[in-house]
């Protein structure tokens, strides 16, 4: 297992190098000039600009530029944002907690909802309740996340006034106070539900089918013959077996959450990584854009790796080496 994990981790390096080359080329191909934030915007003297370009290395051959960028990058120097005039690293770090909170809340909600609905459906298959849940899940799987987000804002934020429709925290709340944290949770809840809706639906159906399948197995019959209460059979014996495949989804979720976060954060104007990414595209903030693309690529790779490793951890029948 350890050997496999290390081998896979090392295998990520060539992939990351390739991606970094692609990212760099894309940034160079993008329209506009990628002058860094270090040039004084008020000084439009062509000589000054030419001098600064030379000094900042924009006239170097492309391979040299790439090499300079990547060496800085691996040392944590992501360059300076052209929009905020501050190091990209600080800007990203400022937004990371928000996205993390959103992602984790979405995951927690997904798992809780999927467990409740899946266990209910699995115990009472083909009943009215099960069919209602299945119908609901079909719609949830079909509805695109941005449409779901728009409807959620319209219904829960505007019509019912249950949730705020934008931002990550109430501006009046004092940082560090109890109200501050409550306000943050209040703001994150609606986007998190929307972000997790699709996986909730697929988890629920998966868990349901798995429980039904397991309930026909021999160990269930043995337990029943011994007189174990049905409740205990379902909640302990069957559930333990049905949880296993669900765990492996965690890795894939990682990648899905990244893509989903870009859309959800933008619609809810929630200040996180996804929103920062879109803003850096529209405002041609190349250093931020490159750093974020690398970061998101890395996280996707990591998520896929996690899925593969978890697969082996929870199911000993799968040999990874």
């Amino acid at each position: 297992m350890l050997k496999y994990s290390i081998r896979r981790l090392l295998g990520m390096i060539p992939m990351l190098i390739l991606i970094s080359i692609v990212v760099f080329s894309l940034a160079k191909l993008m329209p506009g000039d990628s002058l860094s934030g270090e040039i004084d915007p008020l000084n439009t003297n062509p000589e000054y600009i030419a001098e600064m370009r030379e000094k900042l290395g924009y006239n170097d051959p492309l391979p040299v530029q790439y090499f300079n960028w990547i060496t800085g990058f691996v040392q944590g120097d992501f360059g300076k944002s052209t929009r905020f005039k501050t190091p990209v690293f600080d800007i990203i770090m400022e937004k990371v907690p928000n996205t993390l909170l959103l992602g984790i809340t979405a995951l927690v909600i997904t798992y809780i909802m999927a467990f409740i609905m899946g266990m209910y459906s699995g115990r009472r298959p083909y009943t009215l309740g099960d069919n209602a849940i299945a119908g609901f899940n079909y719609v949830m799987l079909a509805i695109p996340s941005f449409v779901a987000a728009v409807f959620a804002i319209y219904i829960f934020a505007f019509q019912l006034n249950w949730f705020p429709f934008a931002g990550s925290v109430d501006i009046l709340a004092e940082q560090g106070s109890f109200e501050y944290y409550v306000s943050r949770m209040h703001h994150v809840l609606l986007p998190a539900i929307v972000l997790g809706a699709m996986s909730t639906a697929s988890y629920t159906q998966f868990l349901r089918n798995d429980i039904i399948e397991n309930s026909r197995k021999d160990f269930v019959r043995t337990a029943r013959a011994k007189g174990t209460p049905m409740k205990k059979i379902y909640n302990v014996h069957i559930l333990r077996n049905s949880i296993i495949p669900l765990v492996t989804f965690l890795g894939f979720d990682f990648a899905a959450l990244i893509g989903g976060a870009i859309i959800t954060e933008t619609i809810f104007t929630y200040p996180g990584i996804g929103q920062l990414f879109l803003e850096s595209v529209t405002s041609r903030d190349y250093p931020t854009l490159m750093a974020l693309t690398m970061l998101l690529s890395f996280l996707t790779l990591f998520g896929n790796l996690l899925a593969d490793i978890l697969y082996g951890v929870v199911d000993p029948r799968i040999r990874l080496d």
């Binding site: 509805i143 974020l292 998101l296």
Partner: protein
């Protein structure tokens, strides 16, 4: 599809049904899939006939013209679904938007299926060096954070080529990885059969073996996958257009129409502007998914119904 042994005999034993006939019968019996098919057909027909339908249904058939006198009208007898903030008829735009959304979805699906099938079939059939090169490449494409690269690529190519085709090519070129993997695995299993060996031994060229013998046996998988990808492509188009990185704003597409919901004022107070595209996108995706499920069931020789 693969084996003819599972074909069920009819009452009259002289002539049994072909696999395609069986599949068709199973599909027609599936109510949900049939209703969905009719819905998709209806949407397609309405979109295709938009230039003829528009003058009949609305007093403002021109979708590109801004009408200051008819801004933000609520749905009434004259404008069945009201007008948007530039005074354009929502129903007319919905029809025209369908043209774009379906066109993008369909063309991108075509690209994805073609690329995926070619790469998957070549990798699976030849194996060895070609396989590992092609599959490395596939892994590479699959590991890209899709949305991130689509947005960046679209920004670069915007203005160089006509906006719509940029979008189609970019999402097509970045989404074929899954199909390639699927086709490869199917081809790998299928090529072990004796009839492939027989075909090769009588001197069939690899090209002929792949097109005449292998692909017909994996086509059912590709068709089902293609249906589901069609749904995904429509979602991607509308999501990108919604974010402002898809179809150019001047062209109506379902995603573009929905993007007016970005303004809290429209979202809160003028639901007739954004609700129709939102509902039609969801219903279209739902229908396509049901059709996909129906096809999967119908084309599976093991499912008896």
């Amino acid at each position: 599809m693969a084996s003819s042994t599972t074909i069920t005999q009819q009452k009259k034993p002289e002539r049994s049904m072909s696999p395609w006939q069986i599949a068709r019968r199973k599909f027609v019996r599936n109510k949900l899939a049939m209703i969905s098919s009719f819905f998709i057909l209806l949407v397609t027909l309405m979109s295709l006939s938009a230039p003829f339908l528009a003058p009949v249904l609305s007093p403002l058939p021109d979708i590109s013209k801004v009408n200051i006198s008819a801004m933000n009208i609520e749905p009434n007898g004259e404008h069945l679904l009201g007008t948007d903030k530039s005074g354009r008829d929502v129903l007319t735009r919905l029809f025209y938007g369908g043209r774009i959304s379906l066109l993008v979805g369909f063309s991108a699906t075509l690209i994805v299926i073609t690329l995926g099938t070619v790469v998957g079939a070549l990798a699976g059939f030849f194996g060895g060096f070609i396989d590992s090169i092609l599959m490395r490449f596939t892994d590479f494409v699959l590991n890209f954070p899709f949305l991130v690269f689509v947005i960046v690529l679209n920004t670069i190519l915007y203005g160089i080529v006509d906006g719509l085709w940029v979008l189609i090519m970019v999402i097509g070129a970045l989404s074929w990885g899954g199909v390639a993997r699927l086709v490869r695995s199917k081809v790998l299993a299928e090529k072990e059969n004796e009839y492939i060996l027989a075909a090769l031994s009588i001197g069939c060229s690899p090209f002929k073996v792949i097109t005449k013998h292998l692909l017909p046996n994996v086509i059912s998988t590709i068709i089902v996958q293609g249906t589901l990808i069609f749904a995904t492509m429509i979602v991607i188009e509308s999501a990108l257009s919604y974010l402002g990185f898809g179809v150019p704003q001047a062209t109506p597409s379902w995603g573009n129409m929905l993007s007016s919901a970005n303004e809290p004022d429209v979202l809160q107070g003028k639901p007739w502007i954004w609700m129709p595209p939102a509902i039609i996108i969801t219903l279209t995706i739902l229908s396509i998914n049901f059709i996909g499920e129906g096809l999967k069931d119908a084309l599976n020789p093991k499912s008896l119904r």
